[in-house]
Symmetry: C2
Subunit: 551 residues, 2 copies
């Protein structure tokens, strides 16, 4: 049987556009002689629709789209993800379903069993879990149809205590008992730079354990924070990857299932390097954020430092340099090289820039505040005022010309609160908020791998906010090499202070870093959405109380 | 049997303080001759601990606290809420448990069955649901011990489609089959102004249906957005409330269970009026936010308008006027009365104020931006700059003196995006973000019920942002009386545009309001936490995608 695997980019709630895309793919697949075409999880409405699932209108429009698609299901079968109303008397209002469409009708509705409700996932908020298992018969093939997490009965432990396996039921095992020929899994599985390997392992694990090929179709495209990489793949019953679709773009592949249980000798393109994946993910994250929000143009403040330089390059790659403009906003504390480095990069990229010195505005603020401040010494207040002047100027360009402001804070800064709310923490989308400073350097090296795009001086000079004379990040923070390791152990690995100290890190530094992370929840609460590239990003997937005693 | 019902105010993660409070209440209850003292849900760690539940340290410290409490359990039994590790091989790592402590040991652990996972609740993110039911025998009484949502098998429908009952199992019914004498329910049930009645109904429903008295112990106190009102109560087996504890303060009541099945003739204090409840909830929300964050002093911008006037009064009541200072920040577009009205209120309340005109700073911004703006006409950009100057000045006071900035936006503005990000939308906590403009007027009337505190002119003048000459809110928005009704139908009742139009609202207005609400998700994403007083507040309980096509 010839199956088309459709790795497409949907927009949440864009029923007309999604439906058109699905129908045209069905037509193409039919003309290519496919027997079946497979779309990803919740393809009809886009994933994740969040609380739009609580609106009757949204479900009605989803149902209408399914009807429209059905009228094109002739001479080819279709597997399609959509939310379906739970007509039972009890439980959540919806199922997260895979529809098997054939001969113009819905022949089977398979519901998702394992509903991820951790990190960024809230599926149990909306969906009732499935409890019935039955394979689908189609053209002498028996198909075990599953949805994303259904393959993840062996979900790795999410905390460093307890000895639990997260799930009670293994839907693949239930289906495998019915002697299927292969597993189809429709997914909406977001990118994380270290998740690709885990994903391959779980596909192979299921293939080998149940001696079944697995056809995995993921969506591609970004929805605010979440970036879906696609990277759909087919694994044979020996757990060997026999087909891998590209990351970060739409693609339709065809596979002949009859050969899948034989020895396969297909060449698979090498998986891109981690830093290349992060780079491509961020570019897609930016371009989809703009196109799906209906915006074209960006603005950002270019300081001469590495963070804004990397963000500028990524933004130019996503939107084209003609759609990006930058402001250089020197203060009296800015070094001469901050202007030369910034303008050099803008020129290299062909990006329009304006220079607006902030000194006069700053002076005017100090004059206005003088009666209130009296003779109190200068402190972080005056630094924050400068950062907020920059934020206000950038937002003025944004408001006047319709350019969205790109936030340039990195994950290390966001973690320890090294940034000014409503100042450099402003923006419509945070590009590097899930990239530690040490990884920002890796990104810069990757960008410069063939030719010097980001000025060498931007990369080699010591990081500084330049908000007071001769300021350096290292005045207030541990070296980023140390800081980032402690942060990774705390944020990503959820280790405790004592565990990290026991690993040999300096006790005082560890306790200080924990204190900074915990006391800055209030700042992160108000930051822009952060493009997620790691397994634990700040934002929706990490829900910490503001009002709490942490120590 | 004499039972002490302990309605206490816990702090999340403050194990030492919570434990001390619990132990001293146990001692008092014992000296009052109580046989049993009942604490609320997750009393040991505070509710909701969110992702702190994923940290091993947090669970370890919770367990240590339980051990410490146990050593004081002599001559009295204790019911206590705490997270308990799921020692089983499968499922989530934790249970949301009620511990029955007696004679220095944990005699029984009862786990929560119904795990709310909707609106602000994410319990299925952390907890495994209970499946075993057994009443507790204590001193010839059989106790049906339940946890909060366990009483809510009849949870009202959350969407306006589907015909489902949310839950599959009714834990009260399972326990009622075992012939208990009464139900104890330990809760962490947040305040919403229209929820008190629903709560009373569900208590009565269970009491009558199972012919059992219900003893309901709620926590009191605020945790960031969530305000817990306490209002613990006892309902006899006829569904009649025989004891009601005060709202918004700590309290311990004693009840003799032997009489609960007889006819009761106890006088219950009247339930406070809705607007009084909202007022008291907001005052508690402010005071707990400050005290639990370790802050004492507040600052806010006083415009002469009604929103900032109401926030100032509430903040003074929460913190004392000596801990509040205000800035009057007139622009060239401010009316004369904005200063007189604002200073009159500050004087009435005894609050320190400074006047900082923003015109010179504004002029300096325009000078700096002139090369970029050229001869483009003035628009909303210039209005936003003024709002952001005010935000920056207020944050400068906040940074210099350690006063937290109070946000003064109301729910109507937040809904339609009538506000400036990083300007008037700045602040550490939003006091009125869940209060529609028409309800802000009700609050002002309530505040002025005995004597004119808020100047009459502040209440009667037409609302205006005063960011351009002769500006009125009604230039850009429908009348608040209409706007708020449409918003309530959309936000709280989740009705569709067409349903609201069918009820007789002007079609063009409804479509415009929906459009404004939907296109401003990005602004609300970056706003401060909002004190929740309704059944559907913006923020954590309403999760809408930013990148989505809504129409």
């Amino acid at each position: 049987m010839k199956i088309a695997l459709a790795q497409l980019n949907y927009t949440i709630g864009a029923f007309a556009a999604n439906t058109e895309k699905i129908i045209s793919t069905i037509k193409n697949a039919r003309s290519e002689g496919a027997d079946l075409v497979v779309f990803s999880e919740l393809a009809v409405c886009g994933y994740p629709p969040l609380d739009l699932l609580e609106q009757k209108d949204f479900i009605d429009r989803s149902n209408q789209s399914i009807c429209e698609i059905l009228s094109h299901v002739k001479g080819i079968a279709v597997i399609l993800g959509a939310p379906i109303v739970n007509e039972g008397l009890k439980g959540k209002n919806l199922f997260n379903s895979a529809l098997f469409l054939n001969n113009g009708s819905i022949e089977r509705i398979v519901n998702k069993t394992l509903l991820p409700t951790y990190d960024i996932f809230d599926e149990y908020r909306y969906f009732q879990p499935n409890e019935n298992f039955e394979v689908i018969n189609f053209k002498s093939n028996r198909i075990a149809l599953t949805i994303c997490e259904d393959l993840w009965y062996k979900q790795p432990l999410l905390t460093n205590f307890g000895k639990n396996k997260l799930y009670i039921v293994n839907p693949v095992k239930e289906l495998a008992n019915q002697d299927p020929d292969f597993i189809i899994n429709i997914a909406a599985s977001p990118f994380a730079y270290n998740h690709d390997k885990v994903k391959s392992e779980i596909l192979s694990y299921n293939a080998i354990k149940f001696n079944l090929p697995v056809l995995y179709v993921n969506q591609v495209g970004a929805h605010t924070e979440l970036i879906f990489d696609g990277a759909s793949r087919v694994v044979d019953n020996n757990g060997k990857t026999v087909l891998r679709m590209p990351s970060f773009k739409e693609f339709v592949s065809y596979i002949e299932t009859d050969g899948l249980k034989k020895e396969n000798k297909i060449q698979i393109p090498p998986v891109p390097e981690e830093i290349e994946q992060i780079h491509d993910a961020l570019v897609l994250g930016i371009s989809d954020y703009f196109s799906k929000m209906g915006f074209k143009q960006a603005v950002l403040g270019l300081s001469g430092g590495i963070d804004s330089a990397v963000v500028l390059v990524l933004t130019c790659r996503a939107l084209g340099p003609e759609n990006v403009r930058v402001l250089l906003l020197p203060s009296q504390f800015s070094s001469a090289h901050s202007i030369t480095d910034a303008s050099a990069l803008a020129n290299t990229l062909g990006v329009k820039y304006d220079i607006i010195p902030i000194k006069e505005i700053f002076t005017q603020y100090l004059t206005g505040l003088q009666p209130a401040f009296g003779s109190l010494p200068s402190d972080v207040t005056e630094e924050n005022i400068q950062a907020r002047i920059r934020g206000t100027l950038l937002m003025a360009i944004s408001n006047k010309f319709g350019n969205l402001l790109m936030n340039t804070s990195n994950k290390s800064e966001a973690a320890v609160g090294y940034g000014t709310l409503y100042g450099d923490m402003a923006g419509s989308i945070s590009v590097l908020g899930d990239v530690y400073k040490t990884d920002v350097y890796r990104l810069a090296s990757y960008i410069n791998r063939d030719t010097e795009i980001i000025p060498k001086n931007t990369i080699t000079k010591p990081p500084s906010a330049e908000l007071r004379p001769d300021q350096k990040d290292s005045d207030s923070l541990p070296d980023y090499a140390i800081l980032d390791k402690i942060l990774f152990n705390y944020i990503e690995l959820r280790k405790s202070e004592n565990e990290i100290i026991a690993e040999g890190f300096d006790e005082k530094t560890v306790r200080r870093v924990f204190h900074l992370v915990n006391m800055n929840e209030y700042k992160r609460f108000q930051t822009p959405p952060i493009l997620r590239v790691s397994s634990k990003a700040f934002g929706f997937g990490r829900r910490m109380p503001l009002v709490a005693k942490y120590n």
